[in-house]
């Protein structure tokens, strides 16, 4: 997918989008932080460049490019893009964070089964039978395929009762 910014014609009165300003500000802040940290790491040693030299150069580049970008935006602001579907972002990110939080505790199979069921049944509004089949295949099926087929260990539950029943 591509996100194309459509620049406005010169002379247009569109102001710089707050999101763009926030982005430029964030990059500039990262650049400044890197610059300050790099000095602490040491720019030069008796042997030659220190651990901070390369990051210092990149921090400088980031700050400089943020400044140039800001000037470009002030001269000719980018039109706002299509934006994002906040509901999609919140539901996907939240469910992934919860999955990551419980995966070591409940094990891959149980946590992934719940994760898939949420995405298929609740978010995707699929019917029960395909939701259950896909959730089982993606959790239990994937666990056995990776653990025993590819020798790649996926986490098992830290709870003894769940562990004893193979989860």
């Amino acid at each position: 997918m591509t996100t194309e910014s459509v620049t406005t014609k010169a002379g247009s009165t569109i102001r710089v989008a707050p999101g763009v300003l926030a982005g430029i500000g964030a990059f500039a802040a990262v650049g400044v932080y890197v610059l300050v940290s790099s000095v602490g790491l040491g720019l030069w040693t008796s042997l030659g460049p220190g651990a901070g030299m390369f990051p210092f150069a990149m921090g400088t580049l980031l700050v400089a490019m943020s400044a140039v970008w800001l000037l470009q935006e002030l001269r000719r602001p980018s039109a706002r893009g299509a934006g994002v579907d906040k509901e999609v972002v919140i539901s996907v990110v939240t469910s992934l964070v919860i999955l990551a939080a419980v995966m070591d505790l409940l094990g891959f199979q149980l946590s992934m089964f719940a994760f898939l069921l949420y995405h298929l049944k609740i978010r995707g509004r699929r019917t029960w039978v395909p939701s259950l089949i896909i959730a089982l295949a993606g959790s239990v099926g994937a666990f056995y395929a990776f653990n025993y087929g590819l020798n790649v260990a996926l986490p098992v539950s830290a709870f003894t009762p769940l562990n004893l029943i193979g989860l």
Partner: protein, 500 residues
């Protein structure tokens, strides 16, 4: 003669049933990734790396290479049947490919694209065989200053061709380099940008970053209720092009091979650029150029041949000099490094058997893809009928597994989520992602060669200008970066390369 013997030895290794199976699975998975709109080759290759974790190095790289060029084939199917490119380098194919579908010639378009891809890929692989030894020997003469300068040129080219704004491309490149510096400094042993988090001492997992930035951010930019496309696969009888279509395609395939192979050798050039320039070449040189845009076979055969020739030729700088020519090759390079293989001249001296086995597998893979693509077009199109929520859920499973299994740590899943949000922000700010991936992989190598160079010269920066090769390369890199100031404009078509 010696090269031929080594290649035959490579075939002996690549033709074992295990390696043939890995090549077959790679082609299968690559085609699926290519067919799925939204999962590009970069994220696709990255998230399938876990599948190859416990394979031997040869098998692992054979499978990942097969995935890589399988995506090139797969992307064509949706371009022709749905007017939706499965991946960026097939975007131009939509023009005449979809027009042919509307004329009832979808089957012929897919067959010509597959045959063109096979020819382009095979000739480019033959080029790799021919270039491997001489370029590898030349590569041995490259010292740290030349290596650093070569990487500067590669990154400069990608930055210059990525998106419409060089400033944004430089921001992306700088971000990638900064991310690559997280962890223990290799020379001084001091932790850098770890914020006291133990998990960051070894650096940020590049697989988690790439899966997040390219894959998860793509899913986060989906919209609710996206319709499942209606697609009709051509029947078996419709797969055969007419004699006229074959005759008209041949010169387009030849030109596409030349364009794709030539551009594939240049770091920073993407497959999209090759297919775009191939289309432009057809517009200029084809006898039937007036038909382009209305369902001309040249508009399918040329670009599709070019992007596969490009994909295979782009492996030449990787194998011989250790320079990834595109973001997907950078991911492949990361996989090489994870398997303890360092791409470059030393690959042919230290791991000759593996290197030649991988090259031999490229020939085998091209044949497998030809056999898989044409007769099984019905199977590939059935994937497109799977509703979006199901596809999204399945892709998310692979992303979580991919991020987790690199270090067997949930921390990497959080890293993937964080970088998914960063990728979404970058997309919304219209910042190209390709420079970030390339610098993420090249960063440690670039820093090491810079520091080695300056240690050799005892801190004298003229080491880069006093050696002729590095002086020329640094000059070239500066010229590329400064070209907007010098009013050396790049062609409009390249500025809108969706892959960059």
């Amino acid at each position: 003669m010696e090269t031929l013997n080594e290649l035959l030895g490579g075939f002996a290794t690549a033709m074992t049933w295990q390696n043939l199976l890995f090549a077959f699975l790679g082609c299968l998975l690559g085609t699926i990734i290519g067919v799925l709109p939204g999962v590009g080759p970069v994220a696709g290759v990255a998230l399938l790396i876990p599948l190859t974790l416990n394979l031997d190095p040869a098998g692992s790289i054979i499978m990942l290479c097969a995935i890589f060029y399988g995506t090139q084939y797969g992307g064509t199917i949706t371009s022709v049947l749905l007017n939706t490119p499965g991946e960026a380098s097939s975007a131009i194919t939509t023009i005449d490919g979809y027009a042919m579908t509307k004329m009832g010639r979808a089957g012929a378009a897919l067959t010509l694209a597959a045959v063109g891809s096979f020819i382009g890929g095979t000739i480019a692989t033959a080029g790799l065989v021919a270039a491997a030894r001489p370029l590898g020997e030349m590569g041995l003469l490259v010292g740290p200053p030349e290596f650093f300068a070569l990487m500067v040129v590669g990154i400069s080219l990608l930055v210059a061709l990525a998106g419409k704004s060089m400033v944004k491309a430089l921001v992306s490149g700088a971000l990638g380099l900064l991310i690559s510096m997280v962890g223990i400094d290799p020379v001084a042993g001091a932790p850098r940008f770890t914020f006291g988090i133990d998990n960051l001492m070894d650096g940020v997992s590049f697989v988690a970053v790439i899966v997040g930035v390219f894959g998860l951010s793509e899913i986060l930019s989906f919209r609710r209720n996206e319709p499942t496309p209606v697609v009709h696969a051509p029947g078996f009888r419709q797969l055969f092009p007419s004699r006229t279509e074959w005759r008209r395609s041949a010169p387009a395939m030849a030109r596409g091979t030349g364009v794709g192979f030539g551009l594939g050798l240049i770091p920073g050039m993407t497959g999209s650029v090759s297919s775009l320039l191939s289309y432009a070449t057809e517009k200029r040189f084809s006898r039937f150029r007036h038909e382009l845009g209305k369902g001309a076979v040249e508009g399918v055969a040329g670009p599709e041949t070019a992007n596969n020739a490009h994909a295979n030729a782009a492996l030449i700088p990787l194998f011989t000099l250790g320079i990834p020519a595109s973001p997907t090759i950078a991911v492949l390079m990361g996989a090489f490094l994870q398997q303890g293989l360092t791409p470059g001249p030393s690959l042919f001296t230290e791991h000759s058997e593996i290197a030649w086995a991988i090259i031999a597998s490229l020939f085998i893979g091209n044949v497998l893809l030809l056999l898989l693509n044409v007769p099984l077009v019905g199977l590939w199109t059935s994937i497109l009928r799977v509703p979006t929520p199901i596809l999204t859920a399945v892709i998310l499973v692979f992303m979580v597994i991919g991020a987790y299994t690199i270090n067997f740590s949930v921390f990497d899943v959080y890293v993937m989520i964080g970088f998914g949000l960063l990728g979404l922000a970058l997309r919304n700010l219209d910042i190209p992602l390709a420079p970030m991936v390339l610098t993420l992989v090249l960063g440690p190598l670039m820093e090491r060669s810079l520091r080695e160079s300056l240690e050799i010269s005892q801190g004298d920066f003229t080491v880069f200008t006093s050696r002729p090769i590095s002086a020329v390369l640094i000059g070239l890199g500066l010229l590329i970066i400064c070209s907007p100031l010098l009013k050396l404009r790049k062609p409009k078509a390249l500025m809108e390369d969706p892959e960059a």
